[in-house]
């Protein structure tokens, strides 16, 4: 049931229908991440998980705009939302994190190392951007019409390799979408303690046009990403989509040391809440019930294989 939700083509839907679809998708990601944290507390998850709570609009908005049949997605340690948006494969992801053989990488990769079809993640910040550029260049050479999308965060934008990637992407006109999730924190450090100057003004200096949007508005993310991707497909060359958002959960699993007032303030404007105001509390609660039921069934089935 959940997978079907992710296989719907949203381009053909009306704005209202699409809004509902996006809400359900984001909700499914949100609930899955919460279940994973829960499984961790139960001691069933080996290692750690980096959840994308609060950033669901970035993942769903962008992946919904991609041509999932051929486009390439590269992501990082906080990639569950990107993976689910790309594949709808909740079973494969949860099983992978539980270390089961039916996991998408048979338990070898775990949370940070995922691969399915044209999606690749890895756990080294700044490692994937140059690879994404290379992938895009290969697709261009082989004339497949595919483009690459690389998700990165404000934290990764302190790695030099990101700027090497931007430079090479612009120099060689690579069709890469740099999808930056400015979630304001790199682990426990606020971005302003890590970066001098402006983050969003950097890519243009390398010749990569940047569009800055509210990353918590899923429709805006979807529309903007779609526009940039279309431009890339006709004109070629890289684009940066700079999405302002906020990480609601802790970096991985552990104490959140940020000021509670700050978290509460951001919770008030997080992507699901924004849509709830439009879609109505009752309808949203019903989606919550349905999706939670379906998800819990999967989670319990997989978790029982461990106990």
């Amino acid at each position: 049931m959940i997978i079907d939700l992710f296989h719907t083509r949203v381009d053909d839907l009306s704005l209202a229908q699409r809004r509902e679809c996006f809400y359900r998708r984001m909700l499914a990601v949100r609930l899955c991440e919460e279940r994973l944290l829960d499984l961790f507390t139960q001691g069933l998850v080996r290692g750690t998980v980096h959840t994308c709570l609060g950033q669901e609009a970035c993942a769903i908005g962008v992946t919904s705009a991609l041509d999932l049949a051929r486009d390439i997605v590269c992501s990082n340690h906080r990639g569950h939302g990107h993976y689910l948006g790309y594949s709808g494969d909740f079973t494969g992801l949860i099983a992978e994190i539980l270390g089961l053989s039916q996991g998408v990488c048979h338990g070898v990769g775990g949370s940070q190392h995922l691969h399915l079809r044209n999606l690749y993640t890895n756990g080294i910040l700044g490692g994937m951007p140059p690879i994404a550029v290379g992938m895009a260049l290969a697709e261009k050479r082989l004339n497949t019409g595919a483009v690459a999308c690389i998700f990165l965060g404000d934290g990764a934008m302190a790695e030099g390799s990101c700027y090497e990637a931007l430079n090479l992407a612009a120099l060689w006109h690579a069709p890469v979408l740099f999808a930056v999730e400015q979630n304001q924190y790199a682990q426990t450090t606020h971005w302003s303690s890590q970066h001098a100057g402006s983050l969003q003004d950097r890519a243009p200096a390398f010749g990569v046009p940047t569009t800055v949007i509210d990353g918590n508005d899923v429709e805006a993310v979807y529309q903007t990403a779609g526009r940039l991707l279309a431009q890339m497909r006709t004109e070629g060359g890289p684009q940066m989509l700079f999405m302002n958002t906020y990480r609601l959960g802790p970096h991985s699993k552990g104490d959140d040391l940020r000021p509670p007032e700050e978290i509460a303030a951001n919770r008030a404007v997080e992507p699901l809440k924004r849509l709830e105001d439009i879609l109505g509390r009752d309808w949203c609660a019903e989606q919550h019930r349905q999706i939670a039921t379906a998800l819990d069934k999967t989670v319990n089935m997989l978790a029982s294989e461990i106990k």
């Binding site: 890895n122 490692g127 090497e164 090479l168 060689w172």
Partner: protein, 332 residues
């Protein structure tokens, strides 16, 4: 009768010609300059659009090449000096070597070629032999051509390999003649190791058990082959074993070709300690004890920076003289 450099040029040219997926990337590799050591000279002219000149972004362009390889091209990256490999190390260790081990159906068929070695007075950061740092990384193959191999065939084999290869060249080898079949002083036979990479067995005469067996690779072959020629006039029978694949021990070939009753010397250009010779010696002890008569001797460069001035450089690096002294000492 060709030089090491000419052979590499031929190999790359044939690879570009035969396989349209092959693409070259590196700093200053386009014509008319044709690369710091001229290995790519002429190629950008003959194969337009297939030879890309990169900015000075080793991590960046190595990662780009990895992405290209994953998506179906066959990139060959040139890192100008082996000393600069450190800048690509994250890509090599955490990405390129791991993807095929973690992800079903993903392979990274790329070659990173680089020039190692001193002896030209370039100083501490342009003279090293750092390949030892990249051996023992699961999923990464390290290959080096010697004067006893056919560099053209070896680079083509590396390019055709479905798995990533770090291909080690040597600055001082480029102008040297590779051994041909008509050489009267040194004879070479080829064996294939378990991964089908060639191991060259060189002898400076016709004999059964040698006076000493030398095990080495790549750049060290220059001094060793020169020594072998001189020593054949001195009736000292030397058998040299030159593997090309360094990151896996050719145990079967060691067992067949290394005689336990003759002294064994391992000579390498990298710095002493925690190196290729350590692994070779361990393997030989496993394979040849208790028949070994004496401990295996290892020679390497001093564990120090490589100085610029010639006499200082010679005191640190592996030289023909030092190898000769070790050989004579082992036989005495």
């Amino acid at each position: 009768m060709s030089t090491f450099l000419q052979s590499l040029q031929t190999g790359l040219s044939e690879a570009l010609s035969d396989d349209e997926r092959v693409i070259l990337l590196g700093e200053d590799i386009v014509d008319p300059y044709g690369g710091a050591f001229k290995v790519t000279k002429g190629l950008s002219t003959r194969f337009p659009g297939r030879v890309l000149s990169t900015p000075i972004s080793e991590a960046g362009f190595t990662g780009v090449a990895a992405g290209m390889a994953i998506r179906g091209l066959r990139p060959v990256v040139e890192v100008m000096f082996g000393d600069f490999l450190t800048l690509c190390t994250d890509q090599l260790v955490n990405h390129i070597s791991k993807f095929s081990l973690m992800y079903d159906g993903v392979s990274v068929p790329m070659v990173i070629r680089t020039a190692m070695g001193g002896g030209r007075g370039y100083g501490a950061t342009h003279s090293q032999s750092l390949e030892k740092m990249y051996m023992g990384i699961p999923g990464l193959q390290v290959v080096a051509a010697s004067l006893a191999h056919d560099p053209a065939a070896l680079i083509r084999k590396a390019i055709d390999d479905q798995n990533p290869v770090l291909f080690i060249e040597n600055k001082q080898l480029y102008p040297q003649q590779i051994i041909d079949a008509l050489d009267r002083e040194v004879s070479v036979e080829m064996r294939l190791d378990d991964a089908s990479y060639p191991v060259a067995i060189a002898k400076n005469g016709s004999f059964g058990i040698p006076d000493v067996t030398i095990i080495a690779y790549g750049g060290a072959s220059r001094a060793i082959l020169s020594l072998m020629r001189r020593m054949s006039r001195e009736e000292i029978n030397i058998k040299a074993v030159f593997p090309s694949l360094l990151s896996a021990m050719p145990t079967t070939i060691f067992r067949a070709e290394v005689d336990a009753s003759a002294p064994i010397l391992i000579a390498e250009e990298g710095s002493a300690g925690f190196n290729w010779g350590s692994e070779v010696a361990s393997t030989l002890y496993e394979v040849l004890l208790p028949a070994l008569r004496a401990p295996i001797r290892r020679l390497a460069a001093k564990a120090s920076v490589i100085p610029c001035a010639a006499h200082l450089e010679d005191s640190v690096l592996l030289t023909e003289e030092k190898i000769e002294m070790a050989v004579l000492d082992l036989i005495a």
